[in-house]
């Protein structure tokens, strides 16, 4: 739990520093051949067929290929994969675009699309194994990225529950947390060397990852997340979450509280040191402000901190991807 005097800023020590010596040998970070527009062009092309995470894919394939797998199993396994969840919501909101209000509930999406359609969609994925390659340019692993995404989803949902939101409304918070960092994947996969340098610089510096992304790539994962969410027609709530989860104040009045909740969940996940998506910077001043604005007291935080690790481990167990080492 958060207690005692809090520093204004704090940078969590990275778990792995094995590449630090290599970083010092790398050439300057700015690649003059690439500008913001060329980055965006490649990112947009990549988003069209964005693959799923290798962490969840084994279980996804197993579930979808099992004719006896239940809809409950299907929903659970999909809800653990940020890319796949986004793709299912993309399909429902593309196909049913006349509904007016975008659908952000995976439960409703499965009812409407049907189990088979969702299975087919999942099976058509290629695995995002780039995150697991044995390379000197590995900013973070698929497992760590997945843990971070799931952690933010679980915390956001817990915050919504503790604020008294009805259970049916809590799923949207989970989905938003799960998807919040999707914008990092195209940056990392399409520009592994550049992104590695950005992450290593964050490792050494005192700035948040998104600020370093702008500095070196001209675009941050929030901007890329916005492109994904808009292209997938995920609706304004998720568009703004993916775009502004580092600065909820930039979101619309309608979605500000929602995005603030995810922003706080993200900061808390960094504080709890669960998972890693390249960012180590914890802004305690912002966290304090968000807690105050959202009415999140110490008791709530204790409750969250007590339950989140267990939920992550249960999900991990479900996926059966416990790996040696």
């Amino acid at each position: 739990m958060l207690s005692g005097p809090e520093p204004i800023v704090h940078r969590r020590q990275p778990d792995k520093c094995r590449n630090r010596r290599l970083t010092n040998l790398l050439p300057p970070m700015i690649d003059s051949k690439l500008n913001r527009e060329s980055y965006l062009k490649r990112i947009k092309a990549y988003i069209v067929r964005m693959p799923s995470l290798s962490t969840t894919l084994v279980k996804v394939m197993e579930t979808c290929n099992d004719p006896l797998a239940s809809a409950n199993d299907l929903k659970r396994v999909i809800s653990l994969d940020p890319v796949l969840t986004g793709r299912v919501l993309r399909l429902i909101n593309s196909a049913y675009y006349s509904l007016g209000k975008p659908i952000t509930s995976l439960t409703r999406a499965i009812i409407m699309l049907g189990v088979n359609t969702v299975k087919n969609l999942a099976l058509s994925f290629t695995v995002l194994d780039n995150l697991n390659r044995k390379s000197s340019c590995q900013s973070f692993s698929a497992d760590e990225f997945w843990r971070h995404s799931l952690c933010v989803g679980v915390i956001a949902k817990s915050l919504a529950a503790l604020k008294g939101l009805a259970p049916t409304g809590q799923e949207e918070y989970f989905v938003a947390g799960l998807l919040h960092d999707l914008g990092k994947l195209p940056l990392y996969i399409q520009f592994p060397e550049e992104y590695y340098r950005v992450c290593m610089n964050v490792d050494r510096g005192q700035k948040a990852l998104y600020q370093e992304e702008v500095r070196f790539l001209g675009v941050d994962h929030g901007a890329v997340g916005r492109i994904i969410a808009k292209k997938w027609r995920l609706g304004s709530t998720l568009v703004e979450t993916l775009a502004h989860h580092h600065n909820a104040a930039d979101s619309s009045d309608k979605n500000c509280e929602f995005v603030s909740t995810v922003e706080l969940a993200n900061q808390l996940s960094l504080h709890f040191s669960i998972g890693n998506a390249g960012d180590y910077f914890i802004d305690y001043r912002k966290m304090s402000r968000l807690r105050h604005a959202l009415g999140v007291g110490s008791t709530m935080l204790t409750e969250i901190q007590d339950t989140v690790p267990g939920e992550i481990e249960r999900a991990k167990f479900f996926l059966e991807v416990v790996r040696s080492g």
Binding site: R49, S70, A71, N72, D73, K75, R76, L91, S94, A95, Y96, Y97, S98, L99, S105, T107, R108, I110, I111, M112, L113, G114, V115, N116, T117, N120, L121, S124, P167, T168, E171
Partner: protein
Amino acid sequence: MDSAVEIKFWGVRGSIPSPGPETVKYGGNTVCLELRFKIKDHHRQIIIDAGSGIRNLGDVLAADHFVNGNFSTEIYLTHTHLDHILGLPFFAPIYFPGTQLKIYGPITGEDVPLKEVIGGQMSYRYFPVRQEELAANIEYIDLREGRFDLGDGITLVAKYLNHPLLALGYRIEYQDCVICTAYDTEPFYNVFSEDPADPSYDELLAQEGDLAARKENSRMEAFFHDADLLIHDGQYTAAEYDSGKKGWGHSTIEHAVETAKRAAVKRLVIFHHDPLRTDSQIDAISKRLCGGRQQEDLEIIFAREGMTLKV
């Protein structure tokens, strides 16, 4: 033609063409509907689905084609399961230069474009003529849920149904007439476990699933509310459905009747007959359901190949 729209049923069977002595009366060709709209000084034609029934329609159109020259038409596919597209390679107008054909079909989430999904059956491994060799100019257009102005005062509303593959139902409005199709579909139901003894049971999920299914069934009834004619899936009887057909994406005749009544439909056509359904069985079901007379305000008709209805 003194009505606003005429609907001819060129194929009424589901799943697979089912010729034989036991299907002579109601027909064995798979689904194909022809809608002819009376528009001032001419008629406009819209075809729904390209099952084996479209072959006979194509032969009639080909004869007209030789007399009247070039022509254009549009086909609205409800989905791309084989029984709804297998007649297309035998649709004669695709072999004539000057034929302008627009084929609309639902997006399904696959990355394969409609042209490839439909045209893929016209490759040498399946058929002696490749799609690229066709003389007609064929344009493929993706459809999704929505309301579309087709011109000539015709409005088409598309709505996704409940089928293992995304399938569209159509509500067609012209002048004061409303014609709806709702096949291949079954009632939405809660796919999530409702049994607390099930290890994967999740109370919230069960509640949300139930709510979502109810909501979709309400949307479905609103979709064909007050229709003059509803052409609805009636592949199974309730007994057949309950003996292992749930989840196959087809309705019971009993459900079609009940839902049509609730939606204040005027005429219901039971459509997409099971390939095992014999003429005598349909006659018996018709007698049982209607008791030799029409029910209250709802007229029930069992679709028969070659039949024409006026609206």
